[in-house]
Amino acid sequence: MSTLPTEVVDPVPGAGAPHLPPQPGLVQLLTPEGQRVADPTYAVDLSPDELRALYRDLVLVRRWDTEATALQRQGELGLWASLLGQEAAQVGAAHALRPDDMAFPTYREHGVAWVRGVDPLHVMSLFRGVDNGGWDPVETGFNLYTIVIGAQTLHATGYAMGVQRDGAESAVLAFLGDGATSQGEVNEAMIWAASFQAPVVFFCQNNQYAISAPIERQSRVPLYQRASGFGFPGVRVDGNDVLAVLAVTRAALAAAREGQGPTFIEAFTYRMGAHTTSDDPSRYRLADEMEEWKLRDPIARLRVYLAHEGMADAAFFDGVDAEADALAARVRRGTVQMQPPAAETMFDSVYAEQTPPLAAQREQFVAYQASFEGSH
């Protein structure tokens, strides 16, 4: 056994041992300490109202997430995929979308769902096992969650090809994880997007892990560089900096709308929780790493900035916290009450035009179920 370099790989800057100073090439507009900094390429100019709105969304989605994790522990959800630590990446990206744009999430974009106006209970119903997400993708501009890793990136690209054909000035935002970048379909999506110059932006939350696999297993070079091989720009942004994420995503979506084709955004962030509630991250990562990332918290820095700049006072912060608690209470109340639809509905939307054999199966099912009525 000579040269088996399975773990001896080039460090991805900032992945293995994250340090507080931002990486070169990392777009940042708000430091972990809450300082506004300038970037040569990207800028945002937000009103205090807009900044407070961002803060509010960050806090609310985190509170919802915490409640969901608790509900799972209490047996009210089958599973929960926490967004903890990725709030800024999601809220920032979602705020860059216009109403007519379309987002294609994975299974973790609760923060995007929130900003798009999806009722949290529709997300909860999926994780409770009641349905696969009950929101309206057209009304919200937010597609259903896709669990098969990467499949949605092709959907997003095809949808963007439809936007082109409609002559519309909309753009499409495709979410994916760092692990997903290894799927063939994701690479095909980038090839398609490049070939047709489709108005789609690939938004990759590099949260450093695909379950237990560290980013180094998927790529030896920073992920954002992948795009150049396909002939379009890639950019790495501090995923815990909501302002930078918003700026970078806005620019990319604008370019897409203007016919300049796709962009790949790597939002450099960290999954502070487990992969899902079924996971045990202590088996594959060190507590130290988490401690370092805690210092880069996406909410704390905005809070410091707002407070420091006098754009928000204690009353505001308390108000948001109260709102968050109310949201959590509503989520809890709604979740525990959710019941699955009548079982026979599983036959009803398999096809738009029901088939005779399936209609017959449905009848058989209903008759069979009825045979138990009163008996047990």
Binding site: V138, L144, L154, T157, G158, G162, E188, W192, V350
Partner: protein, 326 residues
């Protein structure tokens, strides 16, 4: 009345053209379907007339074709994907099985998937590996898909239009070795429903079921059997999912014997499902078990051995004999 003599391939071409004229949302996608008109020329001339936005020469990746088709469908388009040969559908199977087939149910009917996947299928053309496969059972086993296998120019012409106009995903199987067979097609007729089987020859002794390329084989067998005084009823199944077995059940109740023919491997081929269902429905009428004539359970062999692999007239008659001898 416009009746034309068309090959099956040309009937598909005209059907696609008409579907594109009828609905501007119809978009064709595939490898080499534009400038080349497809390796079988089924899309010949369509890119010239409808432009590159509606007849899309794609990059070389079948998952990409199907995955982007899903996205186009979500945006209100009706993508018609060509898979160049049966053996190359497998890279797209993830999108077909986990996405195309499930999205309607996943969204509880909010999102529909009017996607057609055209696949030239089956053997008999002396081709190299992967060009002679019969993958229908994979799709017919997958809830959420509809599967059609046409056998003649009339069904090809209407079927492709019906599949495209319908709201559900359809795997549309084209019997490639019959692309050059001709028939009269009445272009203004009222078509039969897409999802129905059809008795194509009446008979009393044994019911023979076939679809796609094997319908002709079954009819040849019936002709030969007639010469020996044996009367075969031949049913063209036309649709494999949903299966329309009503005419078959009626027939088998009368004949008491049934033989199913297909090119796909016999194990878990369509014949398995049909045998199970027919036996259940016709148990007391059956004089013999439903017998299956299919490809052997081996990878499709090299071209110069395919004649021994494929069901032919003799193998159908052999099964008929066995059914009669039970």
């Amino acid at each position: 009345m416009a009746t034309e003599t068309l090959t099956l391939g040309k009937a598909l071409n005209l059907g696609l053209r008409r579907a594109m004229e009828d609905d501007p949302k119809v978009v064709l996608m595939g490898e080499d379907i534009g400038r080349l008109g497809g390796v079988f020329r089924i899309t010949d001339g369509l890119q010239k007339d409808f432009g590159e936005a509606r007849v899309v020469d794609t990059p070389l990746a079948e998952a990409g074709i199907l995955g982007t088709a899903v996205g186009l469908a979500l945006r209100g388009y009706r993508p018609v994907c060509e898979i160049q040969f049966d053996g190359f559908v497998f890279p797209a199977v993830n999108q077909i099985i986990t996405q195309v087939a499930k999205i309607s149910a996943r969204s509880r009917g909010r999102q529909r998937m009017p996607v057609v996947v055209r696949i030239p299928f089956g053997g008999g053309i002396g081709a190299v590996e992967h060009h002679s496969e019969s993958p229908e059972a994979y799709f017919a086993h997958t809830p959420g898909l509809k599967v059609v296998a046409v056998s003649n120019p009339v069904d090809a012409y209407w079927g492709i239009q019906q599949a495209i106009a319908g709201p559900d995903p359809v795997v549309f199987l084209e019997p490639k070795r019959r692309y050059w067979e001709k028939a009269e097609v009445d272009l203004d007729a009222t078509p039969e429903p897409l999802f129905g089987s059809r008795v194509v020859r009446g008979g009393d002794d044994v019911t023979v079921l076939a679809y796609g390329p094997m319908v002709k084989t079954a009819l040849q067998a019936a002709e030969a059997a007639a010469g020996e005084g044996r009367s075969l009823e031949v049913v063209d199944l036309r649709t494999l999912a949903p299966l329309d077995l009503d005419p078959v059940v009626a027939s088998v109740r009368r004949t008491g014997r049934c033989v199913v023919v297909h090119e796909a491997a016999v194990t878990l081929g369509m014949g398995a499902e049909i045998a199970a269902r027919i036996t259940e429905e016709c148990f007391h009428s059956l004089e013999a078990p439903v017998l299956r004539v299919g490809g052997w359970d081996v990878p499709y062999p090299p071209a110069r051995m395919e004649e021994e692999y494929l069901p032919d007239l003799d193998r159908v008659l052999d099964a008929v004999d066995r059914a009669m001898g039970f």
